[in-house]
């Protein structure tokens, strides 16, 4: 028996404002809205609504709103409505629950429990409008030897670095999970901003080779789209070992999203599910990772930094130490609030640890072992604002990846239904009629605006602290204080409590 489940959201239409233009009907890929010829009015099927707000945004008379249903089961603090509904769904289908985007549960955000310092009296704040304020950063190894030529000048013994004009990059989102136009927008924005976007594991569409200087290509366990030109075209290569939203498992792109173009880019048959295995089957231990790092370096003549991306898990500090000794130049750590195009709900919501704690533990461990210079750290997994970036860098990150914030800038409304492939905003879909709704011209502008605005805010906060180079903020944990944290949390974060001088 299939249990009827009351929809979570209701579409409310202001009948006086509605002019029956039927735009909502045309715009909704979920087919929520329909015209009822009998009454001559628009009607809705709330059960199909994912609350993506497309109709609300495009309605010319602002006649629509979406509210949370006040329907309730008998109130039970232990068995919430959602928990009960999930049991019904699984009893009905026998399937694994799937979700998209980051964990929506009310979790502790350590970003919100850290406060930033500012200069008063003993040390002057610096005004970024009047003085230079450096937010550019280089990522890669800094362990070069001092060598001099015959005239005594220093030789450049440094390995290749990535140069970022802002300490923010766009994190891995594959072509397939997101649309052609979404990729085009990210690539253009990365180029304009002087930073990098990341292809994810879906290969690189040949139209985007021209953005190679701003492209990080991923080599994931499925090896989709990996071949010589792909690697050679990139500025850096990222080995994806894990993802914060789904540590310990691979990926699954449903066949419905594998259009012919996606299939060609991924080098797989059209319409067939693309499944990445949980492990890399050539990496069962750390020494195997080293071999992959060096095969990629060999393949690209040691001209490109290699990034290793891992999910934040319990033993992250020791893992990072192993990665730092593997020859990798950069480590990307993705926290448990990170986004995804699709993940099993139970894994997304229960596996992994917060990026703030993982980052603090990794940075501290690498310093204790004296190998922090071996590797740069990129933090991700719910970096929501410029202040999160500042806090991440003060904890020890070299830069941050943003994914969800970038999608929001392009119009995503976080309805968390990416896995259905019917994104009304043209982002997480391959349906041509939906994809064309996303204009790369506008969306890339929005991305540039977002990152530029964050960069300005970062400069203001740095100036307030009397710091005029982001390099002097990195790992500068005295600039942070905790609030509402336990002693253990303070210890892991390596910061003091608000009000404590040192």
């Amino acid at each position: 028996m299939s249990m009827y489940i009351q929809p979570e959201y209701e579409v409310i239409r202001n009948e006086q404002r509605c002019i029956n233009c039927r735009a909502c009907e045309r715009q909704c890929a979920n087919e929520v809205h329909f015209f009822d010829p009998k009454t001559g009015k628009m009607n809705t099927d709330d059960a199909k609504c994912v609350n993506c707000h497309r109709c609300v945004c495009i309605c010319p008379t602002h006649a629509l709103k979406i509210v949370r249903s006040d329907d309730t089961y008998k109130v039970n603090a232990n068995w919430s409505k959602q928990t009960i509904n999930e049991v019904y769904k699984q009893a009905d289908s026998g399937g694994v629950l799937l979700s998209s985007m980051g964990n929506p549960n009310p979790l502790v955000s350590f970003w919100d429990k850290m406060l930033i310092n500012a200069s008063q009296v003993t040390n002057p704040p610096i005004d970024p409008l009047r003085e230079p304020m450096e937010t550019q950063v280089c990522l890669g190894k800094r362990t070069a030897k001092i060598e001099r030529d015959a005239s005594g000048k220093l030789k450049n013994t440094l390995l290749p670095h990535l140069e970022l004009k802002v300490p923010i990059m766009f994190s891995a989102m594959s072509y397939g999970s997101i649309s052609y136009n979404a990729h085009a927008s990210l690539a253009r924005a990365a180029q304009e901003l002087g930073t990098y976007y990341n292809t994810g594991e879906g290969g690189l569409h040949k139209d985007f080779y021209k953005y190679g200087k701003n492209t990080i290509v991923q080599v994931a366990s499925g090896r989709f789209g990996v071949f010589k030109d792909y690697l050679e075209n990139a500025a850096a290569i990222e080995i994806k070992m894990g993802q914060g939203a789904k540590p310990g498992i691979g990926g699954h792109l449903p066949g419905t999203k594998i259009s012919s173009d996606v299939a060609e880019t991924r080098m797989i048959p059209e319409g067939v599910d693309a499944i990445s295995p949980a492990p890399h089957h050539d990496i069962y231990s750390i020494e195997d990772l080293r071999q992959l790092v060096y095969s990629l370096k060999e393949t690209t003549s040691y001209k490109k930094p290699i990034i290793v991306k891992i999910a934040a898990v319990h033993n992250v500090a020791a893992i990072a130490s192993g990665v730092a000794r593997s020859g990798a130049d950069i480590i990307a750590i993705d926290g448990y609030c990170g986004g995804t195009g699709a993940a099993p709900t139970r894994i997304r919501d229960n596996v992994g640890i917060p990026i703030e704690l993982a980052l603090a533990a990794v940075d501290q461990r690498l310093r204790e072992e004296g190998i922090r210079d071996e590797i740069s750290i990129v933090a991700s997994g719910s970096v929501r604002s410029s202040s999160d970036v500042v806090k991440a860098i003060a904890l020890g990150a070299d830069a941050c990846y943003i994914g969800t914030a970038a999608l929001l800038a392009m119009g995503c409304h976080l309805c968390r239904a990416c896995q259905q492939g019917k994104c009304n905003w043209g982002i997480a879909t391959q349906r041509p009629d939906l994809v064309k709704r996303l204009n790369p011209e506008t969306a890339s502008k929005n991305l540039v605006n977002l990152v530029t605005a964050w960069d300005r805010e970062i400069q203001e906060m740095m100036g307030g602290m009397g710091i005029n180079s982001i390099e002097a903020l990195r790992g500068n944990r005295l600039m942070l204080r905790g609030i509402g944290l336990t002693d253990t949390e303070l210890k892991v974060l390596g910061i003091r409590y608000a009000g404590e001088s040192i």
Partner: protein, 368 residues
Amino acid sequence: MLLREGEFRNPSGCAIAGVIDRSGQSMNGEQIIEAISVMHERSNGLGGGFAGYGIYPHFKDFYAFHLFYEGATAQEETETFIKRHFEIVYFSEIQTRKLPSIQNEPLIYRYFLAPLPQKLANSHLDEREYVARCVNRINAQIKGAYVFSSGKNMGIFKGVGYPEEIGRFYRLEEYEGYAWTSHGRYPTNTPGWWGGAHPFGLLDFSVVHNGEISSYDANRRYIEMFGYKCTLQTDTEVICYIIDYLVRKRGLTLEETAHVVAASFWETIATKDAQAREQETILRRMFPSLLITGPFSIIFGYEGGLMALNDRLKLRSMICAEKGDRAYISSEESAIRKIEPDLDRVWAPAGGEAVVFELYKKEGEQKK
């Protein structure tokens, strides 16, 4: 109970002054006391100190350790340690003058030391590293003992009080040296511990510093990767370790060191000629975590020279001057004018511009 220096972070405002006679002629300590006393208002009586170079000509081949002891036990323990690692050539209590304003002074001793050859050979360390590690061990492990000076033919003299009083307390008029630096401290907390006063020294390196650096914890957490332990939690300490690391351990020149700690802005580097651009870019990329931000002016003393350096925005006053063979550095020009009213040249170095004054090379050597 008040915390001791090192148990909390203690930023402070200050006055600094330095003088060097590049021909190697000696000056007694009186001059530098006079200079720093002009800047009395920049200190608050909670710390003063001096470093003199060339002051122990009769023992110039031996490491001169100056120690504070809080009691006889600490002294006993330290001397046992010293004897295990060094030959003691000579030692005595440092002669001081009792002054009503200088109180709670610790026991203050001086030792001239030579590392035990066998011990040094077995350590597989270069001699200076061996000595530096011994200093760190005493300071970190022996309670109530603190080595505050450890170079050859130089010495640091410091304590809690106004600098001019500290100078008279140590009878600096009885010492003759070719270079002197001094420091008057305005801490924002009460240290009350003599070890916390400045200059801060390691081997023949000494640093006096005015400012509060905003990059402190970034610098500290980085430099501690290389065996340094920032026990005092002061800016001066971390700056001294950074210079020691770059100059002694990595082999950079003082100018290169300045391009690391007070690096030009990237936009400025972009405008420089190709060679300078390349060199400065390499340095910034190699040592980004040793960039020091926030206001500072420092005088770095070493065997044979002084270096003056400001932060790259020049957020602290610092003046240089020359008269004949003598060169002067000070927070305020008044302090220089007090001891040499008639100067050949006075200038304010730009932010991030290292000014180095060194002894003239002896005959046969290339003059710099």
